[in-house]
């Protein structure tokens, strides 16, 4: 029988103690993640996500869509070619007659196909998981629109007016939901989330999926949720409950 290597055991013990100390600052990081200070960049320790509870989402209610349009200065879509950042989708199970209503927008994938195909690097994922278009480098080729499995992106065909300070948008670029990056950076929630709460439905929960104590992480852990087209393994930041 081999003698026990005590030096190795001591080494493992020390390593475990060190790991325990290293975890503590990580936990602190999560607390500061919500309201980022000026000059600080988006943190990779954070993964912003949304949980849409389809059992609470009211059929026919468009509070989230209207709030999104108002927040970003996007005119209400009237033609198929108009820009659309978020849309309400109704699903009906023909056998049971069960109807579910839910908003669908950019799913903020961890492995975004739009980023894979972008020839200029305009389509990118920020460190905190928000998928964005840098309109300064977008050439309007629309590859990302074809690659997106969720039809989340739109091309702006005509000159724009009435832009908002926080949402520059113009002709010739592709755009989509930016998870209200400007609001999130201020420590606020996206406009659709606040509008849904204001309408009394509270169907959308927003938060940091990486923070085990956040409401969204607790919900995702305790109830069955799904990602749209999970078979594509894009690992969406937007999850749906009750689909």
């Amino acid at each position: 029988m081999n003698p026990i290597d005590t030096s190795r055991r001591a080494f493992l013990g020390r390593t475990a103690a060190f790991a325990g100390v290293a975890l503590a600052p990580g936990v602190l990081l999560y607390e500061f993640a919500a309201a980022r200070e000026a000059g600080q960049e988006a943190s990779a320790a954070v993964r912003w996500g949304m949980l849409v509870d389809t059992t609470r989402c009211a059929s026919g209610c468009t509070a989230c869509v209207d709030a999104c349009n108002a927040e970003h200065g996007v005119p209400k879509a009237s033609r198929p070619t108009d820009a659309q950042w978020i849309r309400k989708v109704e699903l009906k199970d023909l056998r049971t007659g069960a109807v579910r209503s839910a908003p669908v927008m950019c799913q903020h994938c961890a492995e975004p196909p739009c980023v894979d195909v972008c020839p200029t690097g305009a389509s990118f994922k920020r460190a905190d998981g928000i998928v964005l278009v840098d309109r300064h480098t977008c050439i309007g080729c629309r590859y990302c629109m074809m690659a997106c499995p969720y039809k989340a992106r739109s091309f702006v065909h005509e000159p724009t007016t009435g832009q908002k300070t926080d949402t520059p948008r113009g002709k010739g670029c592709v755009e989509s939901c930016n998870l209200c990056a400007h609001r999130v950076d201020r420590g606020e929630k996206p406009a659709c989330v606040d509008a849904c709460s204001a309408a009394g439905h509270r169907a959308i929960v927003f938060g940091d999926l990486n923070d085990p104590s956040s409401e969204i992480a607790l919900r995702v852990r305790s109830v069955a949720t799904s990602q749209l087209r999970a078979d594509l393994r894009t690992d969406n930041g937007v999850r749906y409950q009750g689909l």
Partner: protein, 124 residues
């Protein structure tokens, strides 16, 4: 010597007259002091903005020193809250004078947040 002095004086007067007739008369800024001195801003504002746009869009850094929204908030016309619209509006006036195409505002808002919210008259 007297001829030379007269010549210099004539040159100086001509210079003043040139500046007086052609230099754009722009809307006065609201703030007391710009983020850099005027000469630096005239020469390098595009570089400052270009640098910061990448920091903000890609890395998510907010509240930095050189922001286009900051320019608009301070330099907008007092009546319509815009930096475009007439030869006296700050951005348009100087870019027309310098004959440099100004394409920031094809996408970015050219009016202050207050003007967007309808608290000031809309620009024509």
């Amino acid at each position: 010597m007297r001829v030379m002095a007269a010549g210099l004086l004539a040159l100086a007067l001509a210079g003043a007259a040139w500046a007086g007739s052609r230099a754009p008369v722009l809307d006065a800024p609201r703030g007391e002091k710009c983020v850099e001195d005027a000469a630096t801003m005239r020469r390098s504002h595009m570089d400052f903005l270009r640098h910061q746009r990448d920091e903000t869009v890609h890395r998510g850094i907010r509240g930095a020193r050189h922001s286009l929204a900051g320019c608009v908030e301070c330099h907008a016309n007092a009546k319509d809250g815009a930096v475009l619209g007439s030869p006296s509006h700050f951005c348009q006036g100087c870019h027309a004078y310098a004959a440099v195409k100004l394409d920031c505002f094809e996408c970015h808002a050219s009016r202050t947040r207050a003007a967007q919210a309808g608290r000031q008259a809309r620009s024509p």
